[in-house]
């Protein structure tokens, strides 16, 4: 479904990605893990088209989308939940959700809204409230729900568990599995690598803008050497 070959990306003259290869098949959860600054967010920004200064090939459903703007990428069925959520704080929850469906104006927004309100009853309750008034966990739900409004085939999630309380974090990982079950492929970026690798089919460990290791999620999780070297665990297996 998605095949990335030799992806390089730059911020100005600074190169953040040094030639990445990875892939994702329909229906998979694939995770990119790695320590802070490894380049995980940069990969997602390159895929969605926010970052234009890049080289290599991004092949999605047999098209090279490397040169596409976000609007075009969205139109082809990729949606992103960015790190930090990027909720529109002064717009209502309902307006935030409507914006999620901006890229598919022809289709029925009410039906998608109904589906999302069923998935997240708390958002239905707060639909007239400003996005900025929600708690951190609710904002994360809103960000994910907003991305799902576009009916994506592939969902890019950037650190969805960041800054959440443990139960909320648990909820997010359950949710990710449900999203996959509904037929949406997920590319999950996490610093919380233990949880991410546990639910992923396959994982890639990113280090300094390169793929260091790849493999099946649970196998990577079990490899204590990887954990110590790339994921910064002092006490392998206990999580961060």
């Amino acid at each position: 479904m998605l095949r990335v070959t030799d992806l390089k990306a730059w911020y100005g003259s600074l190169r953040a990605l040094h030639g990445l290869d990875f892939s994702l098949e329909a229906g998979e959860i694939v995770t990119l893990v790695g320590s802070n600054g490894a380049g995980k967010s940069t990969v997602l920004k390159s895929l969605i088209g926010l970052l234009r200064k890049k080289s290599g090939e991004i092949r999605y459903l047999d098209r090279d989308i490397g040169g596409c703007a976000p609007a075009e990428v969205l139109g082809m069925g990729i949606a992103m939940v960015p790190e930090g959520r990027w909720i529109f704080p002064n717009l209502t929850v309902g307006e935030n959700l409507r914006l999620g469906a901006y890229s598919r104006p022809g289709k029925s927004i009410p039906a998608a809204l109904e589906r999302e309100f069923a998935r997240f009853p708390v958002l239905a309750e707060r639909r007239a409230q400003k996005g900025g008034t929600l708690s951190g966990g609710e904002q994360q739900m809103l960000a994910i729900s907003r991305a799902l409004m576009s009916d994506p085939k592939l969902l890019l999630l950037d650190e969805p568990s960041l800054g959440l309380a443990p139960q909320m974090m648990e909820k997010v990982f359950v949710l990710i599995r449900e999203i996959r079950k509904s037929g949406i492929a997920v590319l999950l970026v996490e610093q919380n690598s233990a949880q991410a690798l546990a639910i992923a089919d396959r994982g890639y460990v990113l280090s300094s803008g390169k793929i260091a290791i790849e493999g099946e999620g649970p196998k990577l999780l079990a490899d204590t050497r990887i954990q110590r070297v790339y994921l910064g665990y002092r006490d392998a297996g206990s999580g961060i």
Binding site: G49, A71, L74, P82, W86, P89, L99, G100, S135, G136
Partner: protein, 290 residues
Amino acid sequence: MLEQQLLNGMILGSLYALLSVGFSLIVGILKMITFAHGDVFMAGAFSGLVALLVFPHSFLAALAGAVAGAAILGAITEWAAFRPFRSGPEMAPALVTIGFSIVLQALVLLVAGADTKPFPFELDFGRWTVSGITVSGLELATIGTALAVLAGLGLAIAGTRWGLALRATAAHYQAAQIMGINTDRVVLAAFVLGSGLAGLGGLLFGAYYGAFYPLMGVVISMKALAAATLGGIGNVGGAIIGAYLLGIIENLVAGYLSANYRDVIAFAILILVLLIRPAGILGRGEEEKV
């Protein structure tokens, strides 16, 4: 007396509002300022006069010409001053707009001359006296046109898909992009709209005061920027409220305190308001939730 000052305040406020809304739209979205807005107002007004060469004696043609001319100049401003520097240095666009402002003034000076020109024909839309105050048709038309256009803009921003895209782009530029909004197009629309309104204001200003001249946009655009700041920069409703407040305060000061010090006192009041509410009347401080 009071009623007359309020009426004058509404007229001046209408002219300020047509300019301040453009400032608010542009600053609201790009968080950058244009220094060419007053000259777009001026050049728009002159485009209205040019339209009269083609359609003599049509006030509507003059209005349309002013709006169209200014809108095109707004698009050029965006294109030349802002688009090339989207992710670059924040001061670059401001500098380019200063250059653009000088060029516009020089061009109009060259083509039309430095002398003050009246509106080419008499605009007699009637005149009424109601309980002591006299109001002309042109005054009513100025206030009415401004209010109608601004109300339309407000409704479009609050209630349309385009307005939602505009608000989203102003709130978070990159987030708007990953919603699939073509933010470049939103920015262009903001410039075209804001400038079109400025052109409308320019023509109404020239017609009302009977004065078209190359520097006619300089002082009023500074005041409109102040009005937008007073209302809460980036907030279109705030820009409109700020504009009418400034217009009315100025006229009250002129009528009751001192005509010579109207600007000084009006600006003192403005600074006082900003000291109490730094983000402006409708503005809100930056807040972010974790």
